[in-house]
């Protein structure tokens, strides 16, 4: 199932904390107060999860399909390459 990097907007910080009840993959350190009393948090969600949040009154900005940011499987280095770069 595809996942998406998103930014979830809540009406206020309390509404943001209420997101915990969903047990979704939201990134705590990204929680921020935005303009006025509004608050936002980034996360990694499926389309089904996004729909649930929207139905519950949250705004969700879809940033990117997750696989586009997965550089850790493609850009790798062997120990030999690490050694060669440093001449160890």
């Amino acid at each position: 199932m595809n996942r998406f990097f998103v930014r979830v907007f809540a009406a206020n910080p309390l509404a943001l904390r209420r997101l915990q009840k969903f047990d979704f993959d939201l990134f705590q350190p990204t929680a921020r107060q935005t303009e006025g009393k509004r608050a936002s948090i980034d996360g990694l969600l499926t389309m089904e999860q996004i729909e649930k949040l929207v139905l519950d009154g949250y705004q969700v900005l879809i940033e990117e399909e997750a696989s586009r940011r997965a550089h850790g499987q493609k850009e790798t280095m062997t120990v030999e390459e690490w050694r060669a770069e440093r001449k160890v």
């Binding site: 996942r3 910080p13 309390l14 943001l16 904390r17 915990q20 047990d23 993959d25 939201l26 990134f27 705590q28 350190p29 990204t30 929680a31 921020r32 107060q33 608050a39 948090i41 990694l44 997750a66 696989s67 940011r69 997965a70 550089h71 850790g72 499987q73 493609k74 850009e75 790798t76 280095m77 062997t78 120990v79 390459e81 690490w82 050694r83 770069e85 440093r86 160890v88």
Partner: protein
């Protein structure tokens, strides 16, 4: 081709660094294997012995945050290489000179545990790029994995910012320290009680975070704290006024000051500004390494206070590697700065003398008496801001070092006497202090010379006074100046 190392690669590189720099690197095999039976290793980087402050860096707790274990092995390698070659370290336009590197290696024990959660990293690089937890199969539960950074023993049972659902990415586990990965971090803190500074490195958001994470903090009511059961159920709502977590004002000040120094070092590399703030933000947590590290001394007074931080590096979990290299540079500068701020000239000068046994009482004097006075806070700040130079001066000049030891000995007799109450400051101490300031000033930078002159002038406030009386008189001068 440059890129992220595998879990096995990180472990191999740790051993390669130790082998290449065996005179300053010690391999520490952690007592427990990971859930999938991988051996976990850390490095201790240090030259020489004696009582020294320990600094601990840990990373890789959250599997998908790939950049940080690579960052930490590069940091360890760069530190060892620079020390061995007698050079400084340069991160873009930011440079630390050879003497600073020498001081760090010779006056601190630097512990680097780059990959707490090797099973998770393996899973991320081969199966699911966005896996966060460890790979505990959680027998009897529907999903695998425990969030390592919700499994420490800090308000673990409160449920604040954690989940009891094994399918959640913030599943806290079956008990505090239920996971071997968290127990390994605890074992480092237990087995190396000299560790006084710690950073747990995560991604992402460009943040430097310090305690507390469960609620906003306050410095006025010590009874309102995480150990007090009267407040159970009231924590974890940062917007309300019902509960605020107590933190010692002097500690809070240090967290902010040191955090700001790290921020400035990071910014100097390529202009990225990391925000320094308490970790609670808008979204509280419990069971985290940062709060556990700092809370240990409050739970058990025999344990040393650990000034613990979380750094949230970068703006994504797995940046393109060319960008990851830039992030590593800037954060490494922050880590060197952190080491610098953990260096203590008093501890260094006291090493090998009878003063070591009295350091705790002297620290108490600093925290309880000096920091309660505006002049005292100013002296402490001046001292901290010149600590690296003071260390280098006393390390390079045996006569100056002896003078400093004598002054400290006499000062300890006054402010931390073996028996009875502290008395008035003897004129001999004022005279020897003046002599020390003058001798150090002759070899100091312009800034330090200026500071030493100020201190020399201020000695008059302490004539015939107790230390506290002198500070009160110095406070009055500061107040007059402000007017």
């Amino acid at each position: 081709m440059a890129g992220y190392l595998s879990a096995a690669g990180i472990e191999s590189v740790i051993q390669i660094i130790q082998g290449a720099y065996s005179d300053i690197c010690q391999l520490i095999v952690l007592p427990e294997q990971s859930v999938e039976h991988r051996t976990c290793r850390a490095l201790k980087i240090a030259k020489g012995g004696g009582t020294r402050t320990g600094v601990l860096f840990v990373g890789g707790a959250h599997a998908r945050e790939l950049i940080n274990p690579d960052l930490l092995v590069n940091f360890a390698y760069n530190l060892c290489t620079a020390y061995t070659n007698g050079t400084g370290l340069t991160f873009g336009p930011k440079t630390y000179d050879a003497f600073t590197i020498k001081l760090i290696v010779e006056a601190l024990d630097v512990f680097v545990f780059p990959l707490i959660n090797p099973d998770g990293r393996e899973y991320v690089q081969t199966v699911d790029a966005w896996w966060r937890k460890n790979r505990d199969l959680n027998p009897g539960l529907p999903c695998a994995g425990v969030d390592i950074n919700r499994n420490y023993d800090f308000l673990w049972s409160s449920g604040i910012g954690t989940s009891s659902n094994s399918c959640s990415d913030i599943f806290k586990g079956s008990a505090a320290f239920s996971e071997p990965e968290t127990r390994n971090v605890r074992s480092l803190l237990d087995n190396f009680p000299n560790i006084e500074c710690m950073i747990d490195i995560h991604s992402f958001s460009q943040l430097i975070l310090f305690p507390w994470g469960d609620d906003v903090s306050q410095t006025t009511d010590p009874s309102m704290n995480f150990r007090n059961p009267a407040f159970d159920g009231l924590r974890g709502n940062p917007g309300d006024s019902v509960y605020k977590e107590y933190i010692d004002a002097a500690d809070l000040n240090r967290f902010v000051q040191v955090g700001n120094h790290m921020r400035d070092a990071i910014r100097a590399v390529r202009g990225r500004v990391y925000t320094v703030e308490p970790s609670v933000l808008l979204y509280p947590t419990s069971g985290t390494a940062v709060d556990y590290g700092y809370s240990r001394h409050l739970v058990d007074a025999t344990k040393r206070k650990v000034f613990s931080y979380t750094i949230e590096t970068a703006t994504e979990f797995q940046p393109v590697f060319s960008e990851a290299l830039e992030v590593m540079k800037e954060v490494e500068a922050g880590l060197i700065e952190f080491c610098n701020r953990c260096l203590c000239p008093v501890e260094s000068v006291s090493s090998g003398t009878g003063l070591v046994a009295r350091l705790d009482r002297m620290r108490k004097f600093r925290d309880r008496v000096m920091l309660a006075h505006s002049s005292g806070r100013r002296y402490v700040e001046l001292f901290d801001s010149h600590s690296a130079e003071l260390l280098s001066l006393t390390a390079a000049d045996a006569k100056l070092r002896k003078m400093a030891t004598d002054v400290l000995q006499e000062l300890a007799d006054v402010v931390a006497p073996a028996r009875g109450k502290s008395g008035p400051i003897p004129s001999s101490l004022l005279k020897s202090s003046g002599g020390l300031f003058k001798a150090a000033g002759a070899k100091a930078s312009r800034e330090l010379k200026k500071t030493l002159l100020t201190l020399q002038t201020d000695l008059k406030f302490f004539k015939g006074q107790t230390a506290e009386g002198g500070l009160t008189r110095a406070d009055a001068k500061l107040t007059r100046k402000k007017r």
